[in-house]
Symmetry: C2
Subunit: 570 residues, 2 copies
C-alpha cells in the first residue's frame, strides 16, 4: 500500500518540478499540482503513521536524531560541535542540552525544563504577572479536565483543536464511563462558570488569568520549547459589557506581549492582526507579536491576544438582562490571550551563537559569573576572598551574581562552561586586577573585554547589563530588518523567501488566496519540501508607501486590503 503511494508521490513531485520550470504553466496549474502532491503525502502519513521524507533527505536523518538524544558525558563533551549556520537544528539540540536548558524525556513531545530555562520563565512570569494585576486581572485556577459536552459547545473552535485533544479514558484498571479531555486551551473549561457568574451588567468585567500547563497532542515533528505536546503558558480570559472596552484590552495585552519580547528577551517583534486563515478558531480577530529567526529565515508567533466577540458568550450563554432594552438579553464581549514557554525557544534561536546560549540579561538566572584567575597557593586565599566579596556586593545590590571557585576545573574550562550557558557577563579576578582594585569583564554576546573598577561596581554592572540588553536587541533588529523585504511580485517574493527573508506584500485577505500563495511558494526541490509562506500578520503599522490595488497572487482579482507580512513560519 505505502509503496504504491511512494511511487505516486515521486511522480507527482517530478510533475511539480516540471511545472515550476516551465514558464508557460499557469500559477493555478502549479497550485493544483502541489495540492495533489500534499494530498498524496497526507495519504502516506495516514497509511504509515509517519511523515513522508524524500529518499535523499532520509539519509541525513540518523546523525540528527542521535544529536537530539545524547547520553551526555559532560566531562568530555564541552562546547557546541555544530555551527549554527551549518545546521541550526542540530545546533539547537546541542545548545539546549549542553547549556542544561532541557533534558530529553521518554514520552514523545515532552521535555524537562531544567532550572536554567525555568528561571527564564520565572522572570517572564514575574514581569507579566505584576503588569496584568495592575490592569485589574486576577489569578485563578480552573481544572485541567474538560467534559466532552463543554468541549464541543463551540463548533468552529473545537474543529480546530479536536485532532490534538488527549483523552483520559481509564482510571486505575477501570474504564471511565465518560472519558474526559485534557485542556488544549481553557475557553470551554472556563465559560460555563462565567455563565453562572454573570447575571447583571454589574458582574462585568470579569478579568481572570491562570498560569498552567496545556496539552496539544500534535503529530508533527516536536521541537523543545517550539512545538511540544505539553507546554506551560498563561491564559487570560476576560468578559466585558461592551465591545470597545474589550477591544481596548486586546491591544493593552498585545503591548505587554511586545514588552516581554522587546524589554526582557531583547527580540524585536512586529505587532499585527492574523489573517482570516490564521486567526483563532471561534474568535472575531486575533492580534499577534511576530519575531524573526535569522538562521532559518522563519517567522515565529510570539504570543496572541484574541478578541472573541460574542461568539463564545452566545454559545455559553454568558448574558444578562440588557438595561437599555427591556426584556432582551445582552451578551458579553470576550477576549482571551496567551503567552507560552515557546518564547524561550525564540530567545535561544535568535541570540545563540557558535559558542552556545546567549542569555539576555533581564531573564538570565545568573547575570554575572565571577571567576578567579592566575592564583597560586600563595595568593589563593586573598583572591578567593576578593571574588567572594565582589559577588556578595553584587547580590546585595540586586544583581544575580555567582562565583565559580571550583578547584578541579581550570579557568579556561570555566570560561567555556559559562559561555556555553550564556551568562551575560564574566568577571575575571586575578592578582593584577586585585592590585588595581578592578575586575576584567568579558561580555558574552560580543566577546569584548573591559576593566571595571571595584568602586561603584554595582552601579557600573547595572548600566552594563542595560547596555548589553540594548546591544542585543539592536543586533537582532538589524538582522531582522536586513531580511525584511517589500515586493508586489510573486517571483521576487519566492526569491526573497529562499533567501531567508520575511516579506511585506499587498494582500486581499482571503483564505483561498493565502492558500494559493502558500502552495506557489512551496519548494519541491528534492531536498525535502520547503514549506510555503503564510501570513505572519497584517502589521498594525503599515509601510509608508501607498498600498497597490493588486493582491500579490497573480491571478487574484480581489483588491489588496493591506500589506501582509509573509514568511516561512514555525
Amino acid at each position: 500500500m505505502s509503496d504504491a503511494i511512494v511511487k505516486q508521490i515521486e511522480e507527482q513531485g517530478a510533475e511539480v518540478r516540471r511545472l515550476k520550470g516551465d514558464k508557460a504553466s499557469t500559477e493555478d496549474a502549479k497550485t493544483e499540482a502541489i495540492q495533489k502532491l500534499l494530498a498524496l503525502k497526507l495519504a502516506y502519513k495516514e497509511a504509515t503513521g509517519e511523515d513522508y521524507v524524500a529518499p535523499n533527505a532520509r539519509q541525513a536523518k540518523p546523525p540528527k536524531q542521535q544529536a537530539q538524544k545524547p547520553e551526555v558525558k559532560k566531562q568530555t563533551l564541552l562546547g557546541v560541535g555544530t555551527r549554527k549556520d551549518d545546521n541550526y537544528s542540530e545546533w539547537y539540540s546541542e545548545v539546549i542540552t549542553k547549556a542544561e536548558m532541557i533534558e530529553y524525556y521518554d514520552v514523545s513531545g515532552c521535555y524537562v525544563l531544567r532550572p536554567w530555562s525555568f528561571a527564564v520563565w520565572e522572570s517572564i512570569q514575574e514581569w507579566f504577572d505584576s503588569r496584568i494585576k495592575k490592569l485589574g486581572v486576577k489569578n485563578c485556577y480552573f481544572p485541567m479536565f474538560v467534559s466532552n459536552a463543554a468541549l464541543e459547545r463551540e463548533k468552529t473552535h473545537i474543529a480546530d483543536f479536536a485532532p490534538e485533544v488527549a483523552w483520559v479514558t481509564r482510571a486505575g484498571n477501570s474504564e471511565m464511563a465518560e472519558p474526559v479531555a485534557i485542556r488544549p486551551t481553557s475557553e470551554t473549561v472556563m465559560y460555563p462558570s462565567y455563565k453562572k457568574w454573570v447575571q447583571s451588567h454589574r458582574d462585568l468585567p470579569i478579568k481572570l488569568n491562570q498560569w498552567c500547563n496545556v496539552v496539544r497532542w500534535e503529530f508533527k515533528h516536536p521541537t523543545p520549547f517550539l512545538r511540544t505536546r505539553e507546554f506551560l503558558w498563561q491564559e487570560g480570559h476576560t468578559a466585558y459589557a461592551n465591545a470597545a472596552d474589550a477591544e481596548k484590552e486586546v491591544f493593552q495585552i498585545l503591548d505587554l506581549y511586545a514588552g516581554v519580547y522587546n524589554d526582557l528577551l531583547a527580540i524585536p517583534v512586529v505587532k499585527g492582526r492574523k489573517s482570516e486563515k490564521e486567526k483563532f478558531a471561534g474568535g472575531d480577530f486575533t492580534t499577534t507579536v511576530e519575531a524573526y529567526v535569522a538562521c532559518n529565515g522563519r517567522g515565529i508567533q510570539g504570543a496572541t491576544s484574541h478578541h472573541l466577540g460574542q461568539n463564545f458568550s452566545k454559545m455559553f450563554e454568558i448574558s444578562y438582562e440588557d438595561p437599555s432594552r427591556e426584556g432582551e438579553r445582552a451578551y458579553a464581549w470576550q477576549n482571551s490571550w496567551g503567552l507560552s514557554t515557546r518564547s524561550i525557544g525564540a530567545m535561544i534561536m535568535v541570540h545563540g551563537d557558535d559558542k552556545g546560549l546567549v542569555l539576555p540579561p533581564r531573564v538570565a538566572a545568573v547575570q554575572v559569573i565571577v571567576v578567579p584567575v592566575g592564583f597560586k597557593t600563595s595568593n589563593k586565599d586573598s583572591l578567593f576572598d576578593a571574588v567572594d566579596k565582589v559577588t556578595k556586593d553584587l547580590v546585595a545590590g540586586g544583581v544575580k551574581a555567582e562565583h565559580d571557585l571550583r578547584e578541579n576545573y581550570n579557568a579556561g574550562w570555566k570560561f567555556n562552561h559559562w559561555e556555553l550557558k550564556g551568562v551575560p557577563i564574566r568577571f575575571e579576578v586575578g592578582p593584577n586586577d586585585l592590585a588595581k582594585k578592578q575586575v576584567t569583564a568579558v561580555i558574552r554576546h560580543n566577546g569584548e573585554k573591559q576593566q571595571v573598577s571595584m568602586d561603584g561596581i554595582v552601579a557600573s554592572v547595572k548600566t552594563l547589563l542595560d547596555d548589553i540588553h540594548t546591544q542585543m536587541y539592536n543586533k537582532a533588529l538589524a538582522q531582522r530588518d536586513a531580511h525584511l523585504k517589500t515586493t508586489t511580485d510573486i517571483e521576487e517574493f519566492k526569491k526573497h523567501l529562499d533567501e531567508k527573508c520575511i516579506i511585506l506584500s499587498p494582500f486581499c485577505g482571503l483564505p483561498e488566496c493565502e492558500e494559493k500563495i502558500k502552495n506557489a511558494s512551496t519548494r519541491e526541490d528534492g531536498e525535502g519540501a520547503q514549506m510555503g509562506a503564510k501570513t505572519l500578520c497584517i502589521p498594525l503599522e503599515q509601510p509608508k508607501q501607498a498600498l497597490p490595488s493588486k493582491c500579490l497572487f497573480p491571478s487574484c482579482t480581489e483588491k489588496a486590503k493591506a500589506f501582509a507580512l509573509f514568511g516561512r513560519s514555525y
Copy 2:
C-alpha cells in the same frame, strides 16, 4: 447480585453491633467481624461502583447534595444558612461557594479555584518559594505524563498509587499505542533524569522543586480542597551524597511546613513521624505536620516531608563511583516533600464561623475593606474622598486594602458581604469618624470594634493585623489543646474519640496493631459508619510523662515504642 450483598452487609452489621455490646466478646473477635463487614462493603462497591450507604443515612443525603451544587442567585442568598456545629459538611459547602472560593465543575472531583482562594495559594507560594530558594532549591518543570515503564519501576510505591492513576489512551480519534499516565506525584517522572545527571559525587546535591498539578483519581467522596482528583502542590525532590545531609533537610523542610501553618494560616500543628502503616510508599520514613479540625474532631495531614533513603536511587540507578571504595557504586540519598492546596481547606475548616469565612490576615487577598457609612447627598463627596484617601494610604504602606463605594448596596449588606468573605478588618468611615480624624475598625474573627486614629494609621493597621494573627492562632491552639487527650486505655480512647478528640497513646508501631486499633474504634451505630482512628503521627516532641511499656491495644504483646497521636482523620 448487589441485593444479596446488601443483605449480608445488614446481617454482618448487626453481628458487629452485637459483639460490641457483648462484654464477653474479645477485641480480636470484634476486629475480625469488622473486617468482614468492610470486605462486604468493598464487594458492594465493586459490584455497584458506589459506596454502600446505610438506608437511614441514605435518606439524609439529597438535601446535602443540593447544598453542594447550588445555582446561586447571589442577590437573594446572602449569608450562610447552616450553622457550623449543626452540619459542618453543609456549612463548608455553603461557605466555599458563597465566599467565592470555589465554583463547582462538571467533572467529578474537580473544582474551580476562584481568585479569592487562589490568592491564599499565591501567599503560601511566595512565602515558601523564597525560603526554599534560600536553602539552594531551584524551580524546574517536569512533564505531567509518565510512561508505564518509568511508573512501575518502584513496586511498593506504584502499588500504592496504581488504583488512582489516570491514563491517557487516546489522542484525537487515534488510540495510542502506548498509553501514558498522568503524574500522581513525580518520583517516577524525575528520577530517570537524576540518573543521567549524577555521574560523580560532585553532581550532588540536586535540589529541585516544581509547582504543578497532580491527579489522583480517587473514588471516595470528593471534598473541595480536602480531597480532589486534581490538585495543585509543590513537590521538592532532592538527592544527596550522604544520609545525614538528606535527613537534615527533611526536618528543615518540615519546619517550613510548620511555618506555613503557624505563621501564615494561624493553625497550630504537631510535627511528627508517620507510622509504618501511614508512611509514603517506597520511602524510609515520612515526617508530617498534623492539624486539628474542631467541628468534626478530625486530624488533617498538613504537608509531608519524606526521606526516601536509597530505595528509589537503587531502582532508578542514581549512583556514582564511590570515591572511598574503588570500583563500587554509591547510591544517592533522596528526599521528597509536598504541600498542597488542601492547606486552604484546613484554613477554612479551622477558622470559619457561622457568618462565613474568616481569613488569617497574612493570606487574605484583602486585609482591610473600607466602607463609607451614614452618608447623605450633602456629605457624600467628602466622605468618599476620605475613604479613598485612607485606602490609598494603606495600599501605599503595603497593606492589602480596598474600598467598597458601591451605591446600589447599603452598608448593612456590605458588612455581611465582607464578613462572609472573611476580610480580617472592616473600616467604617462615617461623618463622626471624619470629624474626629479616626475610623471605626471591626475585627472579623471576634466582632470587636475599636477606633483607629488617621494619624499613623498604616503602622496601627500592621500591628492590628499581627495581633489578629496571634489571636486566631491562640484560639485555634486552645481549641486543639482542649481536645488533645492522653490515655493508655482503649475504652477511654474510644470515648475520647467520640467526643471529637485526638489522643496520645503508647503504641508498639506495628501496622497490624494499628489496623486492629482502627477496627476497634470504628463505630457501627446505624448512623453510617464512623471511621476508626489511625495514627496521625508519632510526635517529635513526646509527652513529658514516662512512656508506659504496654501498647494501647489490649491484646498486643509488643512493647510500646512511643506515644502516637491518634485520631479520626481526613
